[in-house]
Amino acid sequence: MFAVAAIGVGVGMTLAMVRALLGPTLYDRVLALNTFGTKTVLLIAVLGFLDGRPEFLDLALVYALINFIGTIAVLKYFEFGDLGRASPTRTGGRT
Protein backbone atom coordinates (compact mmCIF):
# COMPACT_ATOMS: atom_id res chain seq x y z
CA MET A 1 0.00 0.00 0.00
CA PHE A 2 2.69 2.46 0.98
CA ALA A 3 4.73 1.56 -2.09
CA VAL A 4 1.75 2.46 -4.29
CA ALA A 5 1.38 5.78 -2.45
CA ALA A 6 5.10 6.51 -2.84
CA ILE A 7 4.99 5.77 -6.56
CA GLY A 8 1.93 7.99 -7.06
CA VAL A 9 3.49 10.89 -5.18
CA GLY A 10 6.67 10.38 -7.20
CA VAL A 11 4.75 10.66 -10.47
CA GLY A 12 3.18 13.88 -9.22
CA MET A 13 6.61 15.23 -8.27
CA THR A 14 7.89 14.42 -11.75
CA LEU A 15 5.03 16.34 -13.38
CA ALA A 16 5.62 19.32 -11.06
CA MET A 17 9.31 19.30 -11.96
CA VAL A 18 8.41 19.28 -15.66
CA ARG A 19 6.39 22.45 -15.09
CA ALA A 20 9.26 23.98 -13.11
CA LEU A 21 11.63 23.35 -16.03
CA LEU A 22 9.16 24.46 -18.74
CA GLY A 23 7.48 27.36 -16.97
CA PRO A 24 7.39 30.49 -19.13
CA THR A 25 7.41 32.97 -16.25
CA LEU A 26 9.22 33.07 -12.94
CA TYR A 27 5.98 32.62 -11.02
CA ASP A 28 5.23 29.32 -12.77
CA ARG A 29 8.55 28.01 -11.54
CA VAL A 30 7.98 29.23 -7.99
CA LEU A 31 4.50 27.67 -7.98
CA ALA A 32 5.85 24.38 -9.29
CA LEU A 33 8.58 24.32 -6.65
CA ASN A 34 6.05 25.04 -3.89
CA THR A 35 3.92 22.12 -5.08
CA PHE A 36 7.04 19.98 -5.36
CA GLY A 37 7.87 20.77 -1.73
CA THR A 38 4.39 19.83 -0.55
CA LYS A 39 4.69 16.51 -2.36
CA THR A 40 8.13 16.01 -0.84
CA VAL A 41 6.54 16.34 2.61
CA LEU A 42 4.04 13.63 1.65
CA LEU A 43 6.80 11.43 0.21
CA ILE A 44 8.86 11.69 3.41
CA ALA A 45 5.82 10.72 5.50
CA VAL A 46 4.95 7.77 3.24
CA LEU A 47 8.57 6.57 3.14
CA GLY A 48 8.67 6.64 6.94
CA PHE A 49 5.68 4.31 7.06
CA LEU A 50 7.13 2.15 4.27
CA ASP A 51 10.36 1.77 6.21
CA GLY A 52 8.60 1.12 9.52
CA ARG A 53 10.19 4.21 11.05
CA PRO A 54 7.52 6.88 11.55
CA GLU A 55 10.09 9.19 13.17
CA PHE A 56 10.51 10.56 9.65
CA LEU A 57 7.37 12.60 10.32
CA ASP A 58 9.45 15.11 12.28
CA LEU A 59 11.58 15.64 9.18
CA ALA A 60 8.40 16.10 7.13
CA LEU A 61 7.17 18.77 9.55
CA VAL A 62 10.47 20.65 9.38
CA TYR A 63 10.47 20.36 5.59
CA ALA A 64 6.98 21.87 5.43
CA LEU A 65 8.15 24.83 7.51
CA ILE A 66 11.26 25.42 5.40
CA ASN A 67 9.29 25.09 2.17
CA PHE A 68 6.79 27.75 3.23
CA ILE A 69 9.46 30.19 4.46
CA GLY A 70 11.50 29.68 1.29
CA THR A 71 8.54 30.32 -1.00
CA ILE A 72 7.56 33.49 0.84
CA ALA A 73 11.17 34.73 0.88
CA VAL A 74 11.66 34.19 -2.87
CA LEU A 75 8.35 35.89 -3.66
CA LYS A 76 9.13 38.85 -1.41
CA TYR A 77 12.55 39.25 -2.98
CA PHE A 78 11.20 39.27 -6.52
CA GLU A 79 8.28 41.54 -5.63
CA PHE A 80 10.19 44.23 -3.73
CA GLY A 81 13.76 43.56 -4.83
CA ASP A 82 14.87 43.43 -1.19
CA LEU A 83 14.42 41.19 1.81
CA GLY A 84 15.21 43.26 4.87
CA ARG A 85 14.15 46.81 4.09
CA ALA A 86 11.89 48.43 6.68
CA SER A 87 8.74 50.06 5.43
CA PRO A 88 8.93 53.86 4.90
CA THR A 89 6.01 54.57 7.22
CA ARG A 90 7.66 52.84 10.13
CA THR A 91 11.02 54.62 9.83
CA GLY A 92 9.53 58.07 9.49
CA GLY A 93 10.08 58.40 5.77
CA ARG A 94 10.13 62.19 5.50
CA THR A 95 13.49 63.01 7.01
Binding site: V18, T25, N34, T35, V41, A45, P54, K76
Partner: protein, 106 residues
Protein backbone atom coordinates in the same frame (compact mmCIF):
# COMPACT_ATOMS: atom_id res chain seq x y z
CA UNK B 1 -7.36 -6.95 6.45
CA UNK B 2 -9.58 -5.08 8.86
CA UNK B 3 -11.91 -2.23 8.15
CA UNK B 4 -9.28 0.32 9.20
CA UNK B 5 -7.03 -0.98 6.43
CA UNK B 6 -9.88 -0.63 3.95
CA UNK B 7 -10.53 2.97 5.08
CA UNK B 8 -6.82 3.70 4.85
CA UNK B 9 -6.62 2.28 1.31
CA UNK B 10 -9.63 4.32 0.18
CA UNK B 11 -8.25 7.55 1.65
CA UNK B 12 -4.77 7.08 0.22
CA UNK B 13 -6.06 6.18 -3.24
CA UNK B 14 -8.43 9.17 -3.27
CA UNK B 15 -5.55 11.42 -2.19
CA UNK B 16 -3.34 10.03 -4.96
CA UNK B 17 -6.15 10.70 -7.44
CA UNK B 18 -6.29 14.35 -6.36
CA UNK B 19 -2.49 14.66 -6.47
CA UNK B 20 -2.30 13.27 -10.00
CA UNK B 21 -5.20 15.41 -11.23
CA UNK B 22 -3.57 18.50 -9.72
CA UNK B 23 -0.26 17.67 -11.35
CA UNK B 24 -1.86 17.15 -14.76
CA UNK B 25 -3.64 20.48 -14.33
CA UNK B 26 -0.32 22.09 -13.46
CA UNK B 27 0.98 20.88 -16.83
CA UNK B 28 -2.04 21.65 -18.98
CA UNK B 29 -3.59 24.91 -17.70
CA UNK B 30 -2.82 28.00 -19.79
CA UNK B 31 -1.45 30.63 -17.40
CA UNK B 32 -0.14 31.06 -13.87
CA UNK B 33 -3.45 32.09 -12.30
CA UNK B 34 -5.23 28.97 -13.47
CA UNK B 35 -2.28 26.83 -12.43
CA UNK B 36 -2.69 28.19 -8.90
CA UNK B 37 -6.04 26.42 -8.79
CA UNK B 38 -4.51 23.06 -9.69
CA UNK B 39 -1.73 23.47 -7.14
CA UNK B 40 -4.26 24.35 -4.43
CA UNK B 41 -6.16 21.15 -5.22
CA UNK B 42 -2.99 19.17 -4.53
CA UNK B 43 -2.28 21.02 -1.30
CA UNK B 44 -5.69 20.65 0.33
CA UNK B 45 -7.45 17.49 -0.84
CA UNK B 46 -4.46 15.43 -1.96
CA UNK B 47 -2.22 16.01 1.04
CA UNK B 48 -5.13 15.91 3.49
CA UNK B 49 -6.49 12.58 2.26
CA UNK B 50 -3.06 10.92 2.12
CA UNK B 51 -2.23 12.09 5.66
CA UNK B 52 -5.62 10.92 6.95
CA UNK B 53 -5.04 7.53 5.33
CA UNK B 54 -1.65 7.27 7.01
CA UNK B 55 -3.20 8.19 10.36
CA UNK B 56 -5.70 5.33 9.99
CA UNK B 57 -2.66 3.05 9.82
CA UNK B 58 -1.02 4.56 12.87
CA UNK B 59 -3.98 4.39 15.26
CA UNK B 60 -4.41 6.59 18.31
CA UNK B 61 -0.74 7.34 18.94
CA UNK B 62 1.60 10.31 18.90
CA UNK B 63 2.26 9.55 15.23
CA UNK B 64 -1.32 10.53 14.45
CA UNK B 65 -0.82 13.77 16.37
CA UNK B 66 2.21 14.56 14.19
CA UNK B 67 0.29 13.74 11.02
CA UNK B 68 -2.53 16.05 12.11
CA UNK B 69 0.04 18.77 12.88
CA UNK B 70 1.46 18.50 9.35
CA UNK B 71 -2.07 18.59 7.94
CA UNK B 72 -3.07 21.68 9.97
CA UNK B 73 0.16 23.43 8.99
CA UNK B 74 -0.45 22.78 5.29
CA UNK B 75 -4.04 23.97 5.74
CA UNK B 76 -2.79 27.32 7.07
CA UNK B 77 0.21 27.91 4.82
CA UNK B 78 -1.17 26.81 1.46
CA UNK B 79 -3.67 29.72 1.06
CA UNK B 80 -1.05 32.19 2.30
CA UNK B 81 1.51 31.01 -0.26
CA UNK B 82 -1.12 31.00 -3.02
CA UNK B 83 -2.22 34.54 -2.17
CA UNK B 84 1.36 35.80 -2.03
CA UNK B 85 2.11 34.19 -5.38
CA UNK B 86 -0.95 35.67 -7.06
CA UNK B 87 -0.15 39.12 -5.67
CA UNK B 88 3.49 38.91 -6.71
CA UNK B 89 2.50 37.78 -10.21
CA UNK B 90 0.01 40.65 -10.51
CA UNK B 91 2.61 43.18 -9.36
CA UNK B 92 5.10 41.57 -11.69
CA UNK B 93 2.94 42.58 -14.67
CA UNK B 94 1.74 39.09 -15.61
CA UNK B 95 -1.58 39.67 -17.33
CA UNK B 96 -4.38 37.13 -16.79
CA UNK B 97 -5.77 35.56 -19.95
CA UNK B 98 -9.02 37.29 -20.88
CA UNK B 99 -11.71 35.35 -22.73
CA UNK B 100 -14.42 37.23 -24.56
CA UNK B 101 -17.65 35.50 -23.56
CA UNK B 102 -19.70 37.40 -26.17
CA UNK B 103 -18.27 35.22 -28.92
CA UNK B 104 -15.72 37.52 -30.53
CA UNK B 105 -12.06 36.78 -31.01
CA UNK B 106 -10.20 36.85 -27.69
Amino acid sequence: MGWLDVLSWISILAGLFFILVGSIGLIRFPDVYTRLHAAGMTDTMGAGLVLIGLSFQAGLTLITVRLLMIWAFLLFTSPIATHALARAALHGKVEPIQVDLAGGDP
